[in-house]
């Protein structure tokens, strides 16, 4: 942090990020404030230079799956699902029904995990640590379930090209049911809290309002858009995997403020729980995977899935080799991020972390296009000493 304040023409700028307690990942916002009121905002991304899109061009189809799964640490499974569905479409194969059902099951468990994580983070930003601690405690239940099914707590690697790796036996199904029963009770309680608690509502009601028109103009997706009444959920409107057999009910709200975003996300949890129960009761028998050729026929495809944060867009192009020619990922956070810059203006500085969290931002998701290598230096990667030296020079 440079210690001299930026005060040009009586403008007082507050930097939020790249390192800041409100941001769980690096991004850089600059808010111009007048007293406590924000008058302008700018954004700078790219602090997580990871070069994932470029990276897929140098890896085989199987290796790329795991690279893409790491676009996001929270919603890793939907990335893998989108990629697998796309590659399977290109290869002309289809994963067996049981695999598709397990994909959806893991995806919905992941949605529960992601939304509960968000609920905690958002409550923490508002200074309501009680809700934060409890929602994260209960999120542990779903983390344990995911660990029990897939073997990993994050980046589950449940998918493989052509199907899934993990099966669900009777005992696991019972564990999931028990866990869901517990979670359902707790989530009811949280819905009560976010829609009833006077002190909390003072921080959410009427804050960060986006109308339906705003959302459509800015291209907002996911629960953020649904909280403003936009009817857009790919699980409903463009069902994939096992969603055609297990239809989803659309959850929307109309107020478009932070409270509505809380209510939409919490209500989606009930929908996820219902869906998981339905799948467990009606899990198709059969194989877990089919063989996918190592070389994928030439062609291009678009694969869209509904991530916990909204529409996830994959464009995959193959030129009949064992590597992808181009993989383009458009994560839901990127369009949503633009909304923060716009609706922040006019709000109190204290509301900014809440508004930012309201879209459930995932910075790592945005920053996936750049290689860490600096070609002008002619080195592949930096040594620890170089990195340290660079850090020292940078802040001198």
């Amino acid at each position: 942090m440079p210690t001299t304040p930026t005060q040009e023409n009586d403008v007082f700028r507050i930097p939020i990020g790249p390192q800041h307690p409100a941001l769980k990942e690096p991004g850089h916002f600059e808010f111009t404030v007048d007293g406590e009121v924000v008058t302008a905002a700018t954004l700078r991304l790219g602090y997580v230079h990871r070069g994932i899109e470029k990276g897929t061009e140098g890896r085989n189809w199987i290796q790329s799956l795991y690279l893409l799964e790491r676009v996001c640490g929270i919603c890793s499974h939907v990335h893998a699902t989108a990629y697998c569905l796309g590659v399977e479409k290109l290869a002309g194969v289809e994963a067996p029904p049981r695999a598709q059902a397990i994909r959806v099951l893991v995806a919905e468990l992941e949605r529960i995990h992601s939304h509960m994580l968000w609920l905690g983070v958002a409550a923490h930003e508002a200074g309501f640590d009680m809700l934060f601690m409890y929602s994260w405690r209960d999120r542990e239940t779903v983390m344990n379930l995911l660990e029990g099914i897939t073997g990993n707590r994050v980046n589950y690697s449940a998918n493989q090209l052509g199907g899934v790796k993990c099966d669900i036996d009777g005992e696991q199904a019972d564990d999931i049911r028990v866990g869901l029963d517990f979670l359902e009770g707790r989530i009811k309680h949280y819905l009560d809290v976010v829609s009833q608690d006077t002190m909390f509502l003072r921080r959410t009601r009427g804050i960060g309002v986006m109308t339906r028109e705003d959302c459509e103009r800015m291209g907002i997706v996911g629960p953020t858009a649904r909280a403003s009444g936009v009817e857009l959920d790919l699980r409903v409107h463009a069902p994939y995997a096992a969603y055609p057999e297990h239809p989803v009910n659309l959850v929307t709200a109309t107020a478009g403020d932070l409270e509505a975003r809380f209510i939409v996300r919490v209500n989606e949890l009930f929908e996820s729980i219902r869906l998981i129960r339905e799948i467990l009761d009606d899990l198709p028998e059969g194989d877990l995977s089919v063989r996918v050729p190592r070389r994928i026929p030439a062609g291009e495809t678009i694969s869209r899935v509904e991530a916990p944060r909204g529409e996830l867009f994959y464009y995959i192009k193959s030129n009949r080799s064992d590597m992808a020619d181009r993989v383009k990922v458009r994560t839901p956070t990127l369009p949503n991020m633009a909304s923060v810059l716009e609706i922040a203006v006019g709000h109190q500085l204290a509301d900014i972390p809440m508004i930012l969290t309201g879209i459930d931002p995932c910075f790592s998701c945005n920053d996936r296009m750049v290689a860490i290598n600096d070609p002008s230096r002619g080195e592949q990667a930096w040594t620890w000493e170089q990195l340290r030296q660079y850090g020292i020079e940078y802040y001198r």
């Binding site: 790219g46 230079h49 470029k54 800015m218 463009a238 869209r304 633009a338 290598n373």
Partner: protein, 150 residues
């Protein structure tokens, strides 16, 4: 409305400018458009409230082909309508559609940084993704950029 019907409506809207339309998958429609007609086609879709712009994909067709292809993906429900624009690699210039769809800003800035495409008329060209000390004129998503031996 069925996906096919939605696609047909979209196809009719841009029929004037489409040099060729393809249906690679049942829910997709690709229309090849001249760079000069892009703004008009996007305006037509926008005015008719046909779906929303999901993203812009830049594809480098390789040094030999000497072209970039820009794909403007519009989505409406399950239907995806893609406007395909080809621009020469040695003079990559395309008109901004910011005036019609302001939310396009991030995608256009991504194209500028990753492919070195000049977007005429986009208001904000500040660096968004690349580090501040990234060298000028190096575009990581071009095919001739090789992270390993650069």
């Amino acid at each position: 409305m069925t996906t096919e019907a939605i696609l047909q409506t979209g196809s009719a809207l841009i029929a004037v400018w489409a040099k060729e339309t393809l249906t690679p998958e049942p829910n997709r429609l690709d229309a090849i458009i001249e760079p000069d007609d892009l703004l008009a086609a996007v305006t037509a879709l926008r005015d008719a409230h046909w779906g929303y712009l999901s993203t812009i994909t830049g594809v480098d067709l390789g040094v030999e082909a000497g072209e970039f292809e820009l794909l403007y993906h519009f989505c409406a429900g399950a239907a995806i309508l893609t406007l395909r624009v080809r621009i020469p690699r040695d003079q990559p210039v395309v008109t901004s559609i910011y005036s019609v769809i302001p939310s396009v800003s991030f995608y256009e800035r991504e194209l500028i940084e990753m492919f070195g495409i000049t977007i005429e008329g986009t208001p904000n060209t500040d660096r968004l993704f690349l580090p501040d000390d990234w060298p000028q004129g190096v575009y990581p998503m071009r095919k001739d950029f090789n992270p390993a031996d650069a």
